[in-house]
Amino acid sequence: MTTLAREMKASYAFVERNFYLTKRYWGWEVGWLVYALAGALSITLIGQDQGDQRLLISLLIGAVFWNYVSIVFSFIAETVAWERWEGTLEYTFMAPIRRYTQLVGSTFFAVVYGLIHTGFVLLVLTLFFGLDLSRADFVTAATFTLLGSLSLVGIGMMAAILPLLYVERGAQMTFVLQSLLLLFSGVYFRIEILPHWMQVVSSFSPGTYLLDGVRRGLMDGAPVTALLHDVWPLVVMAVILIPLGVWMFGRAERYAKRTGKLKRVG
């Protein structure tokens, strides 16, 4: 068997395992869906209250994006945290697989699951508010979501390091990264209202370009070709952040092996 085929098979192991786990925890999944819907509705109703349809859609997109990021991040962060809790982390790290194989499998499932989950939330909100999206360009929205996901996966891999390094509270520390994305990506407001230095920081967040692209696509019906200024930063970030995430995870693994942090806790 070629190395690539073996690594792909191993990668699929993580997808299949996470699928089974999601199936077994279906009650939690329903609860999580209710939580996501309630949160997104609460935010979006601010736009309804203001009687501003454009604000409503903008908030809706922000809320849906936030839900997506939360799912992708929590799944990737749980790559380590869940295994540490179950005690399987050492077995996974003993297996003859490359670390990127594990990360690719886990993040692929996270992205697919996140897209399905978020798509459902978007559908319910659209129906709830009776939105007219006939002018929306869904190809643009999908393109930006997928491109942005690649960059977010890179950041997610870096976030997965935290539970590896900080045994007790590492998983919770990934919330810090999420909250920074929330602040600097213009999830619920325009970047332009931020102080200049914060706008500079925002230009390094993939969320900024992802949200701008999705909003322009859904609200203005802008095609991807009209938004190339948002496309190339996402491509560059993906090219940089994914290898960087894998490299950083490898360094963290080495540190964990040196200090004995792979051991089961809890």
């Binding site: 179950e86 050492e90 996974t92 790290f93 200090t259």
Partner: protein
């Protein structure tokens, strides 16, 4: 005769080896001057978990590692498992250096730890197929092989699809053993595989290890607190004390030595007490602290 605490060997002493007959063949496991330290806090003094340990295990041998809790047994197993990096020294598995040729080593080894670590919501079948895929095995064949191994260990096929959390501790440990065998390791690391099991499960597991030794020629490193188990299963035994390998040999050689040199009863318990300087009861009481090694 009342058992007494014997003086410990000084740390500078090399391990006592009554019978060393080095083979020229590539050993299954070669550990040379391995040391591993941990630092608990920023300003705390490093704890030496494994201290200049050297040993050689031949193909097809079952090597028992005995020692008190905190003696370095699990750390040694983790070092060979590639779960810890070496501070100094080197380890080779069938001639492959674990640092330079880590992936090749990983394909040759598997491990069973004292706690059966699984995704407990998943069934044994799902857990085993997941593990098999990580080692590049075909899922359907792995499932068939798992059924065969678990059947040998007394677990019916009908139990394979129920969540593992519904299984007893003993059954979970048997599934853990099946997982380790599934990948056909040439070196099997058993870290207290029978600790906490009921007598029936313990016997099942011990019989299975014997079968592996006798029929499959597997090389096994077994850490245990059960001296009867060690005597029954192991070709040779090494005793770790405070991270040092203080003595090694066959059970008979060790018993003979402790009787001759220390005037103790020729039992493995006397050997253990002589070279660890503590009673077996002390050790068992600290069982819960085992994983802190």
């Amino acid at each position: 005769m009342a058992l007494s605490l014997a003086p410990r060997p000084t740390v500078a002493e090399p391990p006592i080896r009554p019978s060393i007959s080095p083979s020229h063949a590539v050993p299954a496991l070669l550990i040379e001057h391995v040391t591993k330290r941990f630092v608990a806090g920023r300003k705390k003094k490093p704890v030496v978990a494994v201290n200049d340990v050297s040993l050689r295990i031949e193909r097809g041998e079952v090597y028992g590692v005995l020692g008190a809790n905190g003696g370095g047994k699990s750390t040694l197993i983790r070092l060979v498992s590639t779960l810890l990096t070496l501070d100094s020294g080197r380890v080779e598995v069938f001639g492959h250096d674990i640092e330079r040729d880590e992936m090749a080593v990983k394909r040759m080894i598997n491990r069973v730890s004292v706690d059966a670590a699984f995704f407990k919501k998943l069934s044994p079948a799902e857990n085993l197929v997941y593990a098999a895929r990580l080692y590049g095995l075909d899922a359907a064949r792995a499932r068939q092989e798992a059924i065969r191994i678990l059947s040998r260990l007394g677990i019916k096929e009908s139990r394979l699809t129920r969540p593992l959390e519904q299984m007893s501790r003993g059954m979970q440990q048997k599934v853990a053993i099946a997982r380790s065998i599934l990948t056909s390791p040439t070196l099997l690391l058993l870290d207290e595989p029978t600790t906490g099991l009921d007598p029936r499960s313990k016997l099942d597991v011990q019989s299975f290890i014997e079968e592996l030794r006798d029929s499959h020629g597997a090389t096994i490193v077994l850490t245990t607190h059960d001296l009867v188990e060690a005597e029954r299963l192991c070709d040779r035994i090494g005793i770790l004390n405070d991270g040092r390998l203080v003595v090694e040999g066959t059970a008979d050689q060790l018993k003979e030595m402790v009787a001759r040199d220390h005037g103790e009863d020729p039992t493995l318990q006397a050997v253990f007490m002589t070279y660890t300087g503590r009673s077996l009861d002390d050790d068992v009481e600290e069982e819960s602290a085992e994983d802190d090694e």
